[in-house]
């Protein structure tokens, strides 16, 4: 009986251990799979074609620049909107708001994180885009700007909640010391608390931007999907097409194993690497901070 029990215990341990390692397995599997399906693109499509300015797969024109540019415009737009608003909201919730207001605001921001991106996209089509068209007198409201606004909404919950945590982790004694020196709370926030929490706030912004890079449905639905290389600030008010939207829109109709199929996987590899880089940098900041804290505590 006890033999059986120790055998069972061993079996369970191994099952648990394999599950623990599964995350590594899945990351490697995903990356290898993307490579396997994406790398043939380089042998099928000449590099000059991939780096050209036209994305028109029906005529075998696979220029990736318009898609990269489209993603870039929408992401920069979203960052410019979401970062200041997110940080200020986090500062208000963590430093200024009375406790009851905090208890109301925090769950509401979490609700925003829960709204599916397809619902945001739907809202963008029926309300936001027509409004932008009328308000800015544009030929169409389905523009990079509409995409930026919705992406800002998807990244705000991340930016707000992670920055908030960073602000909470600043010891109260820092603030007390600052106030005791006769500095107002307002100055304490901007010159003491926020600088002390800056790595956490930076991490928050990076994670938020990481989310905007990968966002698909909302962008697919509201940016108008025109693969044009953006030039200057005016491209914010014109339709663009992002990398994610291109995959989502075209993968369903493409023949498996064709050059077009391989190029779409190549775009997938690009997205994977960009988000990987952003997340690893953000994670290394968190890891380093934890190690430093452990060194100080031990």
């Amino acid at each position: 009986m006890s033999n059986f029990r120790s055998w069972l215990e061993k079996f369970i341990f191994w099952a648990i251990r394999i599950s623990g390692y599964s995350a590594i397995l899945f990351v490697i599997a995903i990356f290898l799979y993307l490579l396997r399906e994406g790398l043939p693109a380089f042998s099928e499509v000449p590099l000059s074609n991939l780096l050209s300015e036209r994305w028109y797969p029906n005529e075998d024109l696979f220029g990736l620049l318009p898609l990269l540019g489209g993603s870039l415009v929408v992401i920069i737009g979203a960052t410019v909107i979401a970062v200041p608003i997110g940080i200020c909201t986090a500062v208000y919730i963590a430093e200024v708001a009375p406790p009851w207001a905090r208890e109301i605001l925090k769950p509401i921001v979490e609700v925003l994180a829960g709204i599916p991106s397809v619902v945001l996209g739907f809202f963008g089509i029926v309300i936001l885009a027509p409004y932008l068209r009328r308000a800015l007198d544009l030929p169409t409201g389905l523009t990079a700007l509409a995409g930026s606004l919705l992406l800002a909404a998807t990244s705000l919950p991340t930016i707000v909640s992670v920055s908030e945590d960073a602000l909470y982790s600043v010891p109260k004694s820092f603030r007390d010391a600052s106030i005791a020196l006769g500095v107002t709370e307002w100055q304490t926030i901007w010159h003491m608390t926020l600088p002390a929490a800056r790595t956490g706030v930076l991490t928050a912004c990076m994670l938020g931007i990481g989310r905007t890079v990968g966002e698909t449905m909302a962008v697919l639905m509201v940016t108008g999907n025109a693969p044009v290389i953006p030039r200057g600030i005016s491209s914010l008010f014109a339709p663009v097409r992002t990398m994610t939207a291109t995959i989502a829109a075209e993968m369903g109709e493409v023949a498996t194993g064709s050059a077009h199929y391989h190029v779409l996987f190549l775009i997938g590899i690009t997205l994977f690497l960009i988000t990987l880089a952003i997340n690893l940098i953000a994670a290394s900041v968190v890891f380093r901070k934890r190690q430093r804290a452990e060194r100080i505590l031990s």
Partner: protein
């Protein structure tokens, strides 16, 4: 008396400094409201324009007339199947991985690599999961566009949420519980199974529901792995295609010209109720568990 001290301490510069502070706080409040108001706007618009559509015929009916009439029952059922399928794959692996990280994993390089892998999984764009699911499950493993291919794809996407929230729940169980149990002669697994897991179960449940909530609302991973534009019957096996709520909303708001607005808003509302309902459920479980906690 404190007021007088305050007054006497105020020089003219501190009065203006106070004024700046008050203006600044007001500005911050305004920005915080600016974050919150669009949320009410989005939910408000969908609720007000959608709730008239929510009749029993709409919820339990099949679509007909090119989806311009009838209900969305196949899409609701499809999403429920997908969520259950996702849970079937992701909950056991996710909770086991969390147990490994919290109870067994040594502090070393490998464990750190596992954590980095989890962070990486969490950051991979949903549409890339869609590509992976299409390549591996639909084409290579020959599952075809099917519920099982979509559920497996969503399950991998969900793992990081379930692992990290469950691990956090396990770690909040005090260390002394484990020491006491081991000292009474229980084995490590008995301790985990009888002592640690029951104490952490509501936290784990919260994490699982939050993960599945994401799975219910995601569109990009199921675009090429499950979703059917229109099916006249309910799926009969895990290897069937199915309609799904988020994909249905995408289709009827972009691909079908002349779609009646009521059906669009109604579909969006049903999806919102499902997703935010799960969110609320998770929040209630969490706060209840916190109130009941005995340590």
């Amino acid at each position: 008396m404190p007021k007088e001290i305050e007054k006497s301490a105020h020089s003219s510069s501190s009065v203006s400094r106070n004024r700046i502070q008050r203006a600044g706080f007001l500005l911050l409040l305004g920005i915080a409201l600016f974050t919150v108001i669009p949320i009410f706007l989005i939910i408000g618009v969908v609720v007000i324009r959608g709730f008239q559509t929510l009749t029993p015929e709409f919820i339990f009916g099949f679509p007909y007339n090119g989806m311009k009439s009838g209900g969305i029952w196949p899409a609701i059922v499809g999403t429920i199947y997908l969520v259950l399928g996702t849970a079937l794959f992701s909950v056991p692996i996710g909770v086991a991985a969390a147990i490994y990280l919290s109870e067994y994993a040594p502090v070393n390089r490998v464990t750190q690599i596992i954590r980095i892998a989890i962070i990486t999984l969490a950051g991979i764009p949903s549409v890339v999961y869609g590509l992976f699911g299409l390549g591996l499950f639909v084409i290579t493993l020959k599952f075809g566009t099917s519920i099982i291919a979509g559920a497996l794809t969503l399950a991998i996407m969900n793992l990081p949420v379930i692992i990290s929230t469950s691990e956090e729940a396990l770690r909040t169980v005090p260390h002394s519980f484990r020491v006491t149990s081991i000292s009474l002669g229980a084995t490590k697994w008995q301790t985990i199974h009888r002592i640690v897991l029951p104490q952490a179960q509501s936290g784990i449940l919260t994490g699982v529901i939050l993960g599945l909530e994401r799975a219910a609302g995601e569109t990009a991973p199921i675009l090429f792995t499950v979703a059917a534009f229109y099916l006249p019957q309910l799926p009969r096996s895990p290897f069937d295609q199915t309609m799904a709520l988020p994909y249905h909303l995408y289709v009827i708001s972009t691909q079908v010209p002349g779609m009646p607005e009521g059906i669009q808003y109604g579909t969006a509302l049903v999806l919102l109720i499902l997703v935010l309902g799960m969110n609320l459920f998770a929040t209630v479980i969490r706060s209840r568990a916190r109130a009941r906690r005995q340590w």
